[in-house]
Subunit: 455 residues, 2 copies
């Protein structure tokens, strides 16, 4: 039987690891330049930390870990014979795999609140697990890359997050991304003005689908949810929103003038838009998108989402927003936070499609020393050590060739791994015969000359 | 209720993450210089991949993942009411957390054998999980850092692994480590010569304890295991083995002259010892240790173990060896391998004890712009952007101070995070008031002058 891995999981080859690390390292570098500090939390948390934090669907998709030892011993017999899986779970499992990085971060902040200096700017790049049905681009194990600030109300954070997105995507050479921005207070204001305040969630969920199901679909869904025709009439202009960010803000300011919350939202967005105009962006553009709601109920201020460059078919490659009570679930009130996330797997796919991985250095030796003569090995190993000390990746083909066939095998190895330089033999006086496999150029050089030659 | 994490797991603060990454990056850098390629495997594997590979104890210590959905539905009712936990496990769990990196690597090689170029030099740095009883220095979640070569019999690999250990520990400034080496064939030869071939495992397990329980304890254990007094007599010289590696090898060569396998082991060790003598080591020393067995049955040739510098009380900080049939368990025969591992957590503790983390750059801003005047913020954010573009970590304290108390809070923030430079205010003409907090020196500089000043 051929061995396999669980569905929804992946093995990563060295080329894939190198490319993924290129993305991770670029993100990390920008995170740290912007003053964020890394933390790491355990792969599994106590079940009570995670359960109930992601809704019923989330609870179902959390991977639970079976207790060790004789885990059935203390379970009520009737419960077992009733075969009520969901009730038995809490009796036989007390740990679960991390489902996202946000809840463990909230737990971390509360648990370590006395050791943390607020405002606390943290970043975290770790895998998470979800028992979702796997499909193209959706995995059961995948990385999240989050940066959050907690303990500050300042809108400069929102400005900095726009800059941070721009910085990372510019460094990745992923030019032409669109950073969409909205504000939850504007959504609330709209709902208030149209007199459907109690239906805010239905309203935003429907509005969020504008791109997918069009104006008619959204209207149909709103009607189904009990939002009146009159209310929908009032909101019609939002369906064809266009012009510059400032045009949109002017229009919103007028529409929401009677709503205190809506007006606040317009002011907040205006601040971010004005600041970014004054600062400029390198390769991204900022676009007010009033349909943006991200389906999440915990955002209370800014909402972000990043779209890939035009022409690339891909969902959002990043998102985030401000939330006012992240740590409340663990008993620490009044800690405002704002954060963003990078979607590693989608960024990878976009970069692959655009051919942006060519610059990534692959983990392979630059120089391969062929091994045709046993008695040359020690000299070669000495030379290799010098190359390595000069930062040049080099290796000796480990097994000495005993036949023509085995010699060919060594050349084939250099072919397959696309190794640039091959040292065939040792000439007298510590001179090596080296070949540039691309140009075909062949020279007899000392080890110091080799260092210059291959660099 | 104060939130907590499962026992045996850890949160890592940003200082800890930075220090751990310093070790990881040093190891990675050397791995790649030596021609090793990274791979990554999933956090959980199919249970049948892991179960039965680590003995009965290992099976017990593997963390199992509960199946999703109505996992009890198809379980036999009688089995449930009998509360036979171990039999029920395979019915309600089909995935398990990685227990080490070796078995997943073997699975990877077999599964991807057609895409791999042999000899395959891979490295892997990932966490593993064991449901062991947690104690000082032993965790339920910890990292392994492994490098292995499969598909080559060459003893140059053993030589390179000694160099690799030396390279990594030298770069970490962890000087004076001892790389202990033995060979399983020598152990077999000894058992053969003393006529206790069938008791090889008992013999090596007892001999391995020489450091811990002394000569008398070992003799007692050997007698208990049915090894004869005559046999133990023959092995007495091994208990007081001393002198240079060559002295020891001479003595072993004589002792094992009648054993083909033992003689082979001596020759193999002689090759490694001679090669390393010719090549030299930077800061480690190589020491033949005939008591070294590492309790593992799958080693077939060289056995390695690294001891921390003298004076530091710590178990081994690395180990490994050659195994002849790693992939056989998954159906791919005759693939010889050799590999070593670095013990991250112990290396961390040793470096901490020796004060070797002072050189590690912590993730904190170099320059903090205080935020006392709302109308200076935009100029400051512009200056910060220029600093970041020049690779200098900088940030604006996010919230503007509205009182003396809040101003003090900002200074306190700079204190707590030990930030070197503080910009207090903007003077006219884009000049900033900057203070070196260590020396107390205060200057009014342009942003370009600041870049030079803080670098």
């Amino acid at each position: 039987m051929k061995p396999s891995i669980p569905k929804g999981t992946r093995d990563f080859s060295s080329t894939e690891v190198a490319r993924r690390n290129f993305i991770f390292n670029t993100i990390k570098h920008s995170f740290e330049l912007f003053g964020f500090q890394p933390i790491e939390t355990p792969t599994f948390e106590n079940s009570e930390t995670l359960m109930g934090k992601y809704g019923e669907e989330g609870d179902r998709l959390i991977f639970k870990i079976l207790n060790s030892g004789d885990y059935l011993k203390k379970v009520d017999e009737e419960l077992l014979s009733a075969k009520n899986s969901s009730k038995v779970t809490s009796k036989i499992s007390e740990k679960a795999l991390r489902y996202d990085l946000t809840v463990p971060f909230a737990r971390y902040v509360v648990q370590h609140q006395n050791d943390i200096t607020f405002p606390f700017k943290r970043y975290q790049i770790q895998p998470v697990w979800r028992a979702d049905r796997p499909q193209k681009g959706r995995f059961r194990e995948f990385y999240q890359c989050d940066a959050d600030v907690v303990g500050s109300d300042s809108l400069w954070q929102e400005v900095e997050f726009v800059q941070l997105y721009d910085s990372v995507f510019s460094k990745l050479q992923l030019k032409g991304t669109t950073i969409k921005i909205n504000n939850r207070k504007i959504l609330s204001g709209i709902a208030e003005v149209i007199g459907a305040k109690d239906k805010l969630i239905d309203f935003t969920v429907a509005l969020d689908k504008l791109d997918k199901i069009g104006k008619e679909g959204v209207v149909k869904e709103m009607l189904e949810k009990g939002i009146s025709n009159t209310a929908i009439e009032k909101v019609q202009p939002l369906f064809d929103f266009s012009g510059s960010n400032n045009d949109k803000l002017d229009s919103l300011a007028a529409m929401l003038s009677t709503s205190e919350e809506g007006t606040k939202g317009v002011e907040e967005l205006q601040f971010v838009v004005d600041s970014i105009s004054a600062l400029g962006l390198e390769s991204a553009s900022l676009e007010l998108d009033v349909t943006l709601a991200r389906g999440l109920n915990y955002y209370t201020g800014a909402i972000f989402e990043v779209a890939a460059p035009e022409g690339v078919k891909m969902g959002s490659i990043g998102g985030g927003g401000r939330y006012d009570d992240l740590t409340g679930i663990f008993g620490l009130k009044d800690v405002s936070g704002v954060g963003i996330s990078f979607g590693l797997d989608r960024i990878y796919l976009v970069m692959e499609e655009l051919g942006l991985f060519e610059a990534v250095e692959l983990p392979k030796p630059k120089v391969l020393f062929l091994n045709f003569e046993e008695n040359e090995s020690l000299s070669k190993i000495k030379a290799i050590r010098e190359l390595r000390e000069n930062g040049i990746k080099a290796e000796l083909y480990p097994d000495v060739a005993m036949s023509n066939k085995q010699e060919k095998k060594q050349f084939k190895y250099a072919d397959k791994r696309e190794i640039e330089f091959v040292v065939t033999s040792l000439e007298e006086d510590q001179m090596f015969n080296i070949k540039d496999r691309k140009t075909g150029e062949q020279k007899v050089l000392t080890i110091n000359e080799i260092i210059t030659f291959v660099k």
